[in-house]
């Protein structure tokens, strides 16, 4: 029952009272307000909210793409961003997998996966390729190493991108609706693939989605966010033990968790719809 016994000890994110104000044409927009969330080392924390609710803003702050207006974010006790340093430095301890995918189309899948350690000067080209070949084989990606990303299916591309992130032994994987563009059948394959990768590499996963079913299926915890300004509205402990597979979806516990949360999510979706929020 104790699903967290094999957890990693690194990768705890502490989000404390984070504020983020954008200055757009229509004036100031409060994207995130007084948002606090503790993400435990090694857990899969799912962030659920309607499109444009400000959850990507939170991810961008952790990744170091944007500054924050107030509050602080710590990773394993070290401050990423806070009062005296509003913008974190992007780095290989927190790797992002992007919504639309960001494999470099001019590099082969293997070159993409080997990219990180070579850039950081941790490995030479040959070492990085060897490690990349091994990791790709583990993730069921043998045979597409020398293809360009544009030549393989979108599900494959996502897997390559996740492996590219894991090559750097990150503390945290930041996934921004990575499976959004996939059809639902491919998506279900990708969920199990992600879990399999997760069981082999203990990392903290910060996973943004607007799909509640995906959130409950994958996550240890699901944080349901309010629409802009974004802050946790309800945090759900998913007490279905890992390792999970697709049979979980039909289990009574899964159904009752869905029932418990679906109205909270729907409420926010209606609010977002009525406010006419656009994706930021």
């Amino acid at each position: 029952m104790n699903v967290r016994q094999e957890f990693a000890t690194k990768g705890a994110i502490r989000i404390q009272n984070v504020d983020k104000v954008y200055y757009a044409r229509e004036g100031a927009v409060q994207a995130v307000s007084d948002c606090s969330l503790d993400i435990r080392a090694g857990e899969i924390c799912m962030i659920v909210g309607p499109s444009g609710c400000g959850k990507t803003t939170l991810l961008n702050a952790i990744a170091g793409f944007h500054d924050i207006t107030g509050g602080a974010i710590h990773l394993d006790g070290e401050m990423l961003c806070g009062p005296d340093r509003p913008k974190a430095e992007p780095g290989p301890d927190r790797v992002v997998v992007f919504q639309n995918g960001a494999l470099f189309p001019w590099k082969t899948n293997l070159e993409n996966v080997a990219f990180g350690p070579v850039m950081q000067g941790k490995m030479n080209q040959a070492q990085a390729r060897e490690k990349a070949l091994g990791m790709m084989a583990d993730a069921g990606l043998s045979g597409v190493e020398h293809n360009y990303p544009g030549e393989v299916s979108s599900g494959m591309r996502r897997r390559v991108e996740i492996v590219r992130a894991l090559m750097n032994d990150p503390k945290v994987l930041l996934l921004d609706e990575p499976f959004r563009a996939l059809d639902s059948l491919t998506k279900s394959v990708m969920h199990e693939a992600l879990l399999e990768i997760y069981y082999k590499n203990k990392v903290t996963i910060f996973f943004i989605t607007h799909d509640l079913e995906e959130a409950i299926f994958l996550g240890h915890r699901v944080a349901i966010m309010t629409t802009r300004p974004c802050k946790p509205k309800k945090i759900l402990e998913v007490d279905i033990p890992h390792p999970r597979n697709y049979s979980v979806l039909t289990s009574p516990r899964f159904r009752s968790l869905m029932e418990e949360t679906v109205s909270a999510v729907h409420e926010e979706a209606v609010k977002a719809f009525e406010a006419g929020e656009k994706e930021m």
């Binding site: 290989p92 189309p105 001019w106 070159e111 850039m119």
Partner: protein, 291 residues
């Protein structure tokens, strides 16, 4: 990659293999026959108007038969054909100038465009000046070019370089701006430094636009070269066209014009092949798209 890519089942599709594949497939499509029909229509109309009916002002235009006979004549009436060394001298001088101008404009235009796209400060500092200079036609630069560069060759090369430089720099800048912002962010996440991002993301990401720019640039180079040669210089196809006009050798004007067309077409085709060679990933993606 220094070690080279190992061959795989997917295999390397070289630019040449791609070309032959496209060529053999195009023979089975209407494309080449439409192209031939287009040329036939063009030359036929020209022939009928100028040589058969001698219709209106077309009577004073040399006909295609007359031009081709002169072009392939071992003893040309006006002293210029495929059999006279002078002809090749003109072609070579023009080609040489275009190549030099193309190398200079690419060497300056690509880095300039990359920095325009990459650095906002640099762009705000230089782009307004650049955009003010760009609309000035090459011909307006002729007097200044002759005053600034005393030698025979340099003013012509300067003028030829100018317009090409604009096309290359502008397209390179647009190329940098076209890069999906996720790419540099992903690279930063993976630990790449600013210069590594420039080298591994910005340059290859802008390459498709750069090559569009280079194709425009090589065409524009011929365009401005002929204008420049008409004004100054002693050799070259532009000079040939202009001097034949002065000497009332009208068929040679058309030989000069058609030579520019053929050599110009070849140079831009070479740029395209070089682009395909450097952008394998793109060639393969497009091949999958069935184009």
């Amino acid at each position: 990659m220094a070690e080279g890519k190992p061959a795989t089942s997917a295999g390397e599709i070289g630019a040449w293999a791609m070309f032959t594949y496209r060529f053999s497939r195009s023979l089975r499509s209407p494309t080449p026959y439409l192209m031939l029909a287009g040329f036939a229509l063009f030359f036929g109309a020209w022939f009928l108007l100028s040589e058969v009916f001698r219709f209106w002002r077309f009577a004073s235009l040399p006909g295609p038969r007359q031009v081709l006979i002169e072009w392939f004549n071992p003893n040309p009436v006006y002293g210029m054909s495929l059999y006279t060394p002078d002809y090749y001298m003109h072609v070579w001088m023009s080609l040489r100038r275009v190549l030099i101008a193309f190398v200079i404009s690419t060497g300056l235009g690509v880095p300039f465009g990359l920095f325009l796209g990459w650095s906002r400060n640099f762009r705000e500092f230089t782009f307004p000046v650049f955009e003010t200079l760009r609309p000035i036609p090459v011909l307006a630069w002729v007097p200044l070019a002759i005053v600034m560069f005393r030698a025979d060759e340099t003013p012509v090369i300067f003028l030829t370089t100018l317009a090409s430089f604009y096309a290359t720099a502008l397209n390179t800048m647009l190329g940098v701006q076209s890069i999906d912002p996720s790419f540099p962010r992903a690279a930063a996440c993976l630990g790449a430094s600013k210069w590594q991002i420039f080298r591994h993301i910005i340059i290859p990401g802008a390459l498709p636009f750069i090559f569009t720019g280079l194709q425009i640039s090589v065409g524009v180079a011929w365009f401005s070269l002929v204008a420049a040669e008409m004004v100054s210089g002693e050799y070259g196809l532009g000079y040939l066209i202009n001097s034949s006009y002065v000497n009332v050798q009208y068929p040679i004007i058309i030989i000069g014009m058609m030579s520019v067309g053929i050599v110009g077409y070849t140079t831009s085709a070479l740029v395209r092949v070089a682009g395909d060679y450097l952008m394998q990933w793109r060639v393969r993606e497009l091949a999958l798209g069935g184009r």
